[in-house]
């Protein structure tokens, strides 16, 4: 087979090269990396297309590509931040990578949170564990234009105190008087000096009892948490069409071709990953 050197324009499978410029350990096995584009044209394309909610395929040649969200908001497009748990081949190698190392990125793909539609509304963010990163992207998109929104409430829970991610940002949100942050850890996960709630996210949410009036909820977490939190939101009077979540399925292409991320007839990579709870409830539950 002939090997041609070609420009990247037409090969949809060719990733951009990114340099790791910063990294931060969030929790045991969980790391955030800040990546910068090396090719100005690729960066310009990212700036033109990226909107909060979209995802990417992060990769290391020789290991492969992994799908996760872009954890940085659309209001900060000089770089891409991603937060991942070290578990498979790609994430383990990413975790061993150092500042200055090169990795790859393909994207951004998928749909987005319709943030303009949230203007003038109260916002309720609910996240569990490692699902704060996709939520954080929306949180900062809104906090970076804080004046456009009403009350902002964040309910975040993790298994243990150590498992809370973005601890420095949680501290910042606690200090801000225009953000109401409710922190919780699962029973048994508290440390002796833990000053916040102990309990599971749905229970903590019901205790906090945010008003559903003129309020948009953004909910991200493991499937089991989503399931019970949706019940709690219903109890609190939230309409399914005002609750947004993101789905994450295994993907290889991210382009609607490789055939594995669909839930029922919905291709998560193209029609998602952002869905309202009303849309999710119409999907076949057994395929989630």
């Amino acid at each position: 087979m002939t090997e041609n050197i070609q420009n990247a324009a037409q090969n949809i499978y060719k990733p951009a090269i990114m340099k790791i410029v910063a990294r931060h350990d969030e929790a045991p096995g969980v790391r955030t990396m800040r990546l910068e584009f090396q090719d100005p044209a690729e960066h310009d394309q990212f700036k033109a297309t990226y909107r909060t909610g979209m995802f990417g395929l992060y990769g290391i040649y020789g290991e492969g590509e992994s799908t996760f969200c872009v954890a940085s908001p659309e209001t900060r497009k000089d770089y891409i931040e991603c937060t991942f748990r070290q578990s498979g081949r790609v994430t383990s190698t990413l975790a061993r990578s150092d500042i200055g190392d090169l990795v790859t990125f393909r994207g951004p793909y998928g749909n987005r949170f319709p943030i303009e539609e949230f203007y003038g509304k109260n916002l309720l963010f609910i996240a569990g564990g490692i699902a704060l990163p996709p939520t954080r992207s929306v949180i900062w998109s809104c906090l970076d234009q804080r004046e456009k929104f009403g009350k902002v409430t964040i309910v975040y829970g993790a298994r243990t105190v150590a498992d809370l991610v973005y601890k420095h940002e949680l501290e910042e949100w606690l200090q801000r008087d225009d953000v109401d942050l409710v922190l919780a850890v699962d029973p048994g996960g508290e440390s002796p000096d833990w000053k916040h709630r102990v309990g599971f996210v749905p229970t903590v949410l019901e205790e906090a009892a945010p008003s559903p009036d003129n309020c948009i909820a953004v909910l991200c977490g493991p499937p089991i948490m989503i399931k019970f939190t949706l019940i709690s939101l219903k109890k609190l009077g939230f309409d399914e069409t005002n609750v947004y979540t993101t789905l994450e399925n295994r993907m290889k292409c991210g382009l609607g071709k490789c055939g594995r991320c669909n839930v029922g007839s919905i291709y998560v990579c193209k029609e998602g990953p952002v869905f309202t709870a009303a849309e999710v409830s119409r999907m076949p539950a057994a395929d989630l």
Binding site: N4, I5, N11, G62, S66, G259, S265
Partner: protein, 337 residues
Amino acid sequence: MTKILFTDKLDNCIERWKSAGRTVIGPVQKNNISTYDTVKSASELDLNLVLPDRSIKELFFPQSEPMLRYTIKKEAINTSEFLPPSGQRIIFGARACDASGLAIDDPLFGWDYKDEYWFQRRNESVIVTIACTKADDFCMCTSLKLAPDSPKGSDIMLRPLENKKGWQVEELTERGREAFKTIADLLQESNEAAAPTITVPEKFDSTACAEWLKKPENFESKFWKEISLRCIGCGSCTYLCPTCHCFDIQDEGDTYNGIRRKNWDSCSFALFTMHTSGHNPRSTQSARWRQRIMHKFNYFPGKFSANSCSGCGRCTRQCPVDMGITETLQEISKLSQ
């Protein structure tokens, strides 16, 4: 009067096409398996098959396709691209089901993001289909509203003469017309009658099946478990299918040098949808078989207005446990009555 290509002129045609720079491909026997492959002369072609064991898909979407070569040096990643080998091709003696399969997958590979590996080959290939004059018990094109002489995806349709001495030539597309200009003087005008196209009986009602599949309550029907009990998840049906397009992307090499490849994958495999966390949305073989049927006859038509099945019957013909789409859709036809 119709244009006729006589079989004894076929060698001259192949010669002519080859000297015009085209590669000629057709059904051949190779290691006791019939498949589509490059031929040098007409004698290599096996045009008496009902259809080749392997589908035409791999001429456009190979089982393993190198996409990128990476070389990593300190502070730099060099990537070079593999493009599909370019060159005009004539695929002589395709079956209508195989040609339709290509047309079915075109919108999938072009959906927003254009897969050049597929389209470069598509744009450089002329599909010369021979209408079927025989079929076997597994053929089911008519159940999919296609036919043994369906023009979908073909550039030229050849209809075998009754006396078996040649074919009536029907030019379907500009691309086909262009390719046959090269051999215009080798064709003869004649009144020879074409043999009747084989009648393939309808085996199921695909419209009724589609209606049944669309009903949300049937997603969790116990039918899926019963019908797929003997599936061993080998993936043969997906690999032989002319429309199955699922793939994996894998790196072959080490930390410094290697090749990123696009490889066939299959919804029959447990690992296909497995999350890193261990959660698997389609964790049972019945869920995977349901996905295959739903995808072909419900999801795909919903997006691209065509079933992702051209009725070639390979999935059933070559299934090691005698399962297949035919049986499943026949059962669904019964359930939907």
